[in-house]
């Protein structure tokens, strides 16, 4: 029984790792891989825009992750408090609908909503007297990141609540009964029972998502433009632009390797940190 799983793990996860060697080569469709040592990495680290992109990747992705934990857990707790079972299911369904839209569609939707000409948000703000002129949000360095966080939360919060809601329903009702007998109100019950019981799930979700922090691409790609490259360009969008003209598989492997190393550091670090604080990690 183990053999098919092992074979699949081996073929799709372990053997391809040997491809790492290309990170140290120059390898194009026309040239067989030529060993060039660390040249790819030297080139990567000397690009000024690369460090800005790395910075953006961390800020955007980790920021998004933290917001995601707060919102998903918070909303899961609030959904749990809805008395009517039908209403509960209805709210859940509506909230995770945006998850199923593609990023291209979502970008188109919000570009229209945030438009300076007839966009809902600008119209409302001008009508309420909060601003005099429409703001070109999508091209504004001051606003772009906030908008990106908002759109990410709009799209993904609902989906994120699913795991937490499932975990909450798994908490034994005995605990709540005992707490009620002891005189604890809903708020205290949430604080002393629900959240500690969820801690493990929160930790697992957090660390697993931390591993994917470097991979952010599509949400940035469909929403960024040249006016906001400084605050929005992430590693994958940067190398996408470079790679379009430069078919160097060695270079793109080097970038991928760098990303994997950073992810490894983040995950191991978070796990260690969690062990120190909570007495347990997940890895």
């Amino acid at each position: 029984m183990f053999i098919p799983v092992f074979a699949q793990l081996w073929v799709f996860h372990y053997w391809p790792m040997a491809g790492i060697r290309f990170a140290f080569t120059k390898y194009t469709p026309f040239i067989q891989p030529q060993y060039i040592g660390f040249d790819n990495f030297t080139r990567l680290f000397n690009e000024p825009r690369f460090w800005s992109a790395f910075n953006n990747t961390l800020i955007l992705s980790i920021g998004n992750l933290l917001l995601s934990m707060i919102f998903s857990v918070g909303i899961a707790l609030l959904i749990n408090e809805i008395g009517n079972a039908i209403a509960k299911k209805f709210v859940q369904t509506v909230i995770y609908l945006p998850h199923f839209l593609s990023w291209v569609v979502v970008a188109a939707i919000f570009t229209i909503i945030l438009s300076t000409q007839g966009g809902f948000v600008n119209d409302l703000l001008v009508k309420l007297g909060i601003i005099d002129e429409p703001i070109y949000f999508m091209a504004s360095k001051d606003h772009w990141r906030g908008i990106w966080y908002f759109i990410n939360r709009w799209k993904e919060t609902g989906w994120g609540t699913i795991i937490f809601l499932a975990a909450i329903t798994g908490i034994s009702p005995d605990l709540y009964e005992a707490a009620e007998i002891d005189g604890a109100g809903r708020l205290k019950q949430t604080w002393y029972i629900t959240i500690p019981s969820l801690m493990n799930t929160i930790l697992v979700v957090f660390i697993l998502n931390l591993a994917k922090v470097m991979n952010v691409f599509e949400s940035v790609f469909v929403l960024y433009n040249e006016m906001v490259y400084d605050v929005s360009d992430v590693i994958k969008t940067y190398t996408y632009r470079v790679g379009l003209q430069n078919n160097d598989y060695g270079y793109s492997t080097a970038v991928g390797l760098f990303q994997s190393v950073v992810s490894l550091i983040l995950v191991t670090g978070a796990n260690w940190f969690s062990e120190k604080i909570n007495g347990r990690g997940i890895v």
Binding site: W10, Y27, A139, E226, R241, L244
Partner: protein, 494 residues
């Protein structure tokens, strides 16, 4: 016990195999068989990677079958998803399965040629006396003469069709309503835009829009032609001195930036031009919001008109003749290239029996332009020929099987009449346009160009949107892009 041994063995095997594959090189590629040089030897099979043809669902295979019927040659066409075409082509070469023929456009054509991947057909073309020689427009063949791997000029591909370009479409019904005729110079052009802005007392009109302030690849200045005029926002060869220079640092570009900045401030250019995609500006145009729209001349004229008319039945679109200070820009032709001897054993046969056949002005050209008789087109009893509906989407008639009929670079007697809107927009375009060459490529450019393009785009946007003055913008460009510009110019000028 047994389980332990099996697990241990598996672990060791894994580690060993990984180490071996880690250290081993790649497998070899390509054919090493003899290369044929006799043009009369017909190939038995041709493999091709193709991009801008009709989809397999619409009958691409029938085209290949008909080709076999006519010539006896098996044609294997591979059409990857359009967005992944060049990725798949690169992988084919890297994996040793490069095709015999491939379609190459934009920067890829010179890149592949400079890497020695393409066969030089200059001699074959020169010595050929096939029908295509007497009907082809030589300018398009010449646009494909570029340096090869050793730096000498060669012909590494055959023009698929004319390159075409963008033209400025205008709402003719708005011009009529305002009693204006087509502007002939920049000032009249601006006055027209100003008149559009307040048309009918509306406040939502966008006088002119385009899919961006600058294109992401060569040719760069295809949008807002009336504003760019003679500016060259890229590195080009100054014919007078024979040296490459950066047009961004020259006076015409500074003036162009100033024009755009002023027009943007006045509200004449779409305020959201920086976030426009081609689909968003088309949508704005169809929603009756736009007066002028830079878009592709030719078959798009028909599409834009048909879609606009569903919202505004009385709308009329025409293409504006280029104003006095400017001209339209034609891209160099996409090429059909034959891969070099390491990938193809009979390049000259493929040239004669496939490429020349496709452009023969008769049977071959009909097949690769209009498709297969009674599948994609048919002859009526009264002698006229009409296009049939697409197999997959029958609400539209077949426009082309591969080569666009309205952009044919040979004198082709197309039996199917072209839509008047298509031909008139093209006529306006060709009346005043310049054919730009392929940009130069080399290893330095491949590495540095992407960043240069990015910086250029950022600076132009900042200036036009008013964050920097034209002067400051150029200075910022020159400072930030200094290493890229000097590296590229040194590699080109020596």
């Amino acid at each position: 016990m047994k389980k332990n041994i099996v697990t241990k063995a598996a672990t060791i095997a894994t580690a060993l195999l990984m180490t071996v594959s880690f250290l081993s090189g790649c497998t070899g590629t390509g054919t090493t068989s003899e290369v044929n040089t006799d043009p009369n030897v017909k190939p038995t099979e041709i493999t091709m990677m193709i991009d801008t043809c009709m989809t397999p669902e619409n009958g691409l295979q029938q085209v290949a079958d008909k080709y076999k019927e006519n010539t006896g040659i098996t044609l294997k066409l591979e059409k990857p998803d359009h967005n992944q075409y060049y990725e798949k082509v690169g992988l084919a070469f890297a994996g040793g399965t490069a095709p015999n023929v491939l379609e190459l456009g934009s920067i890829q054509y010179p890149t592949f040629a400079s890497q020695g991947a393409l066969w030089n057909m200059a001699d074959a073309y020169a010595s050929s006396d096939a029908p295509v020689k007497s009907i082809i427009d030589e300018a398009y063949v010449d646009s494909l003469r570029i340096p090869g791997m050793d730096g000498t000029e060669g012909l590494y591909g055959f023009p698929l069709a004319k390159g075409g370009g963008t033209v400025t479409y205008v709402r003719q019904d708005w011009l009529d309503k305002l009693g204006l005729s087509a502007p002939t110079n920049y000032n009249e052009f601006l006055d027209m835009l100003r008149a559009f802005k307040t048309l009918d007392g509306r406040s939502d009109i966008i006088p002119i829009t385009a899919a961006g302030l600058i294109n992401g690849e060569s040719p760069y200045e295809i949008y807002l032609r009336e504003f760019y005029q003679d500016a060259k926002p890229y590195i080009y060869k100054d014919e007078a001195t024979g040296k490459y220079v950066d047009g961004m640092s020259e006076a015409p570009m500074k003036e162009a930036l100033q024009r755009m900045q002023d027009a943007y401030k006045e509200g004449l250019i779409d305020p959201e031009i920086v976030t426009n995609k081609t689909s968003t500006c088309r949508d704005k145009f169809y929603a009756d919001l736009v007066g002028c729209f830079n878009y592709w001349a030719g078959s798009w004229a028909k599409t834009l008109d048909e879609n606009l008319v569903t919202t505004v039945p009385d709308a009329k679109i025409t293409a504006l003749p280029a104003i006095a200070e400017s001209w339209y820009i034609e891209r160099p032709s996409t090429s059909i290239s034959i891969t070099s001897e390491q990938y193809t054993s009979n390049p000259i046969g493929i040239y004669k029996y496939f490429i020349e056949y496709m452009h023969d002005g008769g049977e071959g050209q009909m097949l690769f332009t209009r498709g297969v008789e009674n599948v994609h087109w048919k002859k009526n009893d009264d002698g006229t020929t009409i296009a049939l509906p697409y197999l997959e989407t029958p609400d539209k008639d077949v426009e082309k099987s591969y080569m666009a009929p309205e952009l044919s670079c040979t004198k082709f007697d197309d039996p199917i009449a072209l839509d008047e809107r298509v031909t008139s927009s093209l006529e306006t375009f060709y009346n005043n346009r310049k054919l730009v060459p392929y940009p130069p490529v080399n290893d330095t450019i491949n590495v540095e160009n992407a960043e240069l393009d990015t910086i250029r785009k950022e600076v132009i946007s900042k200036v036009v949107l008013g964050q920097l003055s034209a002067e400051e913008g150029i200075k910022e460009y020159e400072t930030r892009a200094n290493s890229q510009i000097s590296a590229i110019l040194t590699s080109l000028n020596g």
